[in-house]
């Protein structure tokens, strides 16, 4: 035990002192904040510029209704409190619109308008002519064809205007029309809480990705360290003092502690950042970091890391270079990659049989169970069973891999074949 601690301490100190550790520790949260907060911030706050749009229509009433709706839409968005998670669907903002009306529906005018958009004199032109409305296909000329958020808003406005026009022509009062066009909001909610589905999704998605990345990266890092040690021939010296099991345990423990340190720093940074005004106003991270989820993350990280790094340690001991390790590495990572593939499916139906099985099967459990915990779809007995089975699987894997490791670290040269590997395992 003393040796395991010494080896783990060496591994830990040597790693946290490296430049790459310090860089990873501070760059990743910066990147994460950059990736989530910045686009949200930009999208919700938008630019202060206004856009100039022309509505072309056959009759003045239609044109004015569209103009009204568009102006109203961009005004309304401005009034909405920023970062309201309930209003997630409206979080993309469009710029303030200046809308002009044009009643000339000739082809010549159309060509002229298109040219003006091209020349950047205009930002857009909507052709809501009688024919277009009858065909239910309204042409919108814009340089920002890919700005789906803005297009969405414009489409909604045109639709509303057309419906208003229709209802008004049937003799409905203004109030009746408002009432009829009012949309109903669907608010999904889990039985245990009142959490916002979008936040829940982001929480589940991000914890699973972080778990995947850390288990994978640090597992590989254990493997690399062992390949390095094999190549530096330190094994012989180490084995003259400690035994292979202690070396493997110390290494995995040390790297695991490094990973935990890093995750802890990340959690603190994200925690601090999410309480600052900037992030809170974006509303993205609110509710993602719950203590319960963090605790489950820690549990499944430790179990997943123990399971996978043991296998990576065995792979590292079997090969002489990272190139040689590649195939085996993919084989080891396969269950985790499969978990990612099934993620969307499991998020769709977190209570399905597949989801349940995958969250209990030890090799997919860390990712899938954490996902189900995050979306609050796992019952306590399932969580208990998955943890129990993982511990059993870790025990079996350690027995198996320690044997491979013990022989492998002293073998140089050719990668073992499967029969040779079986011999290593049987070898007392």
């Amino acid at each position: 035990m003393h040796n395991i601690i010494l080896i783990a301490r060496r591994e830990y100190l040597e790693r946290v002192r490296t430049r790459s550790f310090i860089a990873m520790t501070f760059l990743v949260p910066a990147l994460m904040l950059g990736l989530t907060v910045l686009p949200t911030y930009l999208a919700t706050h938008g630019s202060s510029q206004s856009k100039h749009i022309v509505v072309v229509a056959s009759d003045k009433r239609t044109a004015e209704l569209i103009q009204q709706q568009l102006s109203k839409e961009s005004e309304e968005q401005k009034d909405q409190p920023a970062g309201d998670p309930q209003g997630f669907e409206n979080r993309f903002r469009i710029e303030k619109l200046n809308v002009d009306v044009d009643l000339d529906t000739s082809d010549r005018e159309q060509t002229a308008l298109i040219e003006r958009v091209k020349q950047k004199e205009l930002d857009g032109a909507i052709f809501a002519t009688k024919d277009a409305l009858a065909a239910k296909k309204v042409l919108f000329i814009t340089r920002d064809v890919s700005s789906f958020a803005a297009n969405e808003v414009i489409q909604a406005s045109v639709n509303r205007a057309v419906r208003r026009d229709l209802l008004a022509s049937k003799g409905f009062s203004e109030k009746e029309i408002d009432n009829a066009l009012e949309t109903v909001d669907l608010k999904p909610q889990s039985p245990s809480g009142t959490r916002n589905p979008v936040v829940l999704f982001f929480a589940a998605f991000s914890v699973m990705m972080i778990l995947y990345m850390t288990v994978f990266l640090y597992g590989i890092s254990v493997m690399r360290a062992i390949i390095d040690e094999k190549n530096s021939r330190i094994m012989e010296v180490m084995l003259s003092i400690t035994d292979a099991k202690e070396m493997m345990a110390g290494k995995i423990l040390g790297v695991g502690l490094v990973a935990l340190t890093q995750i802890l720093i990340w959690a603190v940074v994200v925690g601090i950042a999410s309480s600052t005004a900037l992030v809170a106003s974006a509303g993205m991270l609110k509710g993602i970091i719950s203590i319960k989820l963090l605790a489950f993350f820690a549990v499944y990280f430790l179990l997943g890391f123990a399971l996978y790094s043991t296998m990576y340690a065995a792979v590292g001991a079997m090969v002489n270079s990272e190139q040689e390790a590649q195939q085996l590495q993919v084989l080891v990572a396969a269950p985790m990659i499969l978990s990612l593939v099934f993620m969307a499916n499991i998020l769709q139906s977190p209570g399905s049989n597949i989801a349940m099985f995958a969250s209990i099967f030890p090799f997919t459990a860390p990712l899938i169970m954490l996902l189900r915990v995050a979306v609050q779809a796992a019952s306590p007995w399932e969580i208990g069973l998955s943890i129990g089975l993982m511990i059993a699987a870790i025990y079996g894997t350690v027995l198996f891999c320690a044997r491979v490791y013990r022989i492998g670290i002293l073998m140089y040269g050719k990668k073992p074949t499967l029969p040779e590997l079986m011999k290593w395992i049987k070898y007392a």
Partner: protein
Amino acid sequence: MYTIELEKVRKSYDHFVAVDDLSFKIEQGGVFGLLGPNGAGKTSTIRMMIGITVPDSGTVSVFGQPFDRKCLKRVGYLPEERGLYKKMKVLDQLVFLGELHGMAMAPARKRAIEWCERLEISEKLADKIEELSKGMQQKIQFIAALLHDPDFIIMDEPFAGLDPVNSDLLKNVLLQVKEQGKTILFSTHRMDQVEKLCESICLINHGKAVLQGNLKQVKAQYGKNTVQIQYEGNGNFLKGNPLVQSFSDYGNHVDVQLAKGADPQQLLRGAMEHSRVSKFELMEPPLEQIFIDVVGKTDA
């Protein structure tokens, strides 16, 4: 008491027998040479002494007890395959290995600094291993094997790759350590070093002991049938000479094995006829000659 006792130790890998019923004893407080050609089983034997591998059959006793991992704290090992953590600093590395051998951190540190001063590399204490030359790395490895003041020291080719000045430095250190009553196992191909350092030897070939015992007695067995000659002029008198069984020309001198019953005086006369002899010495065969003979015989 014997520091090491191997009793009919056998180790095979698949169908290859690396060590074949090998038995020998190493007395406490001496330098023991474990010799043999490449692939003879030296490293396999050493690995079983320190529990890196376990013999298929036979027993290994260390310090008079059946092998137990606890005894490893009293053993220092310099493997032929040198290995250190390349990214670690010299002092950190030595302290780490010292701690693994059961030392506390402060004394390990103190002793590491002393050793580095003794081996004239104290200015490298804060350098990373990978920044050092091969020779310096070797000195660090050497210190790592001795830092915890072990009672049994295994040195596998300790002088390989060192210049004569540094070889001499390490050799003197080893002799001092021996004076303190420590046991040293010395594994090498360099027979001249064995002759200088070892008191007893075991020569193994194909995993079997083919020659062992006190070095002086071993050499005496072979008798004084070797003549070392230094001369200027024509050396042709040696070729086809019935007095000569075989000879090895080293450029500056020639070692001649006399044929059975040959008179060395007669050879000297012949030599003087053909060249100017500056040295003619009747001596025990060099260990190298014995090595070549014995290994050649057991291979045949």
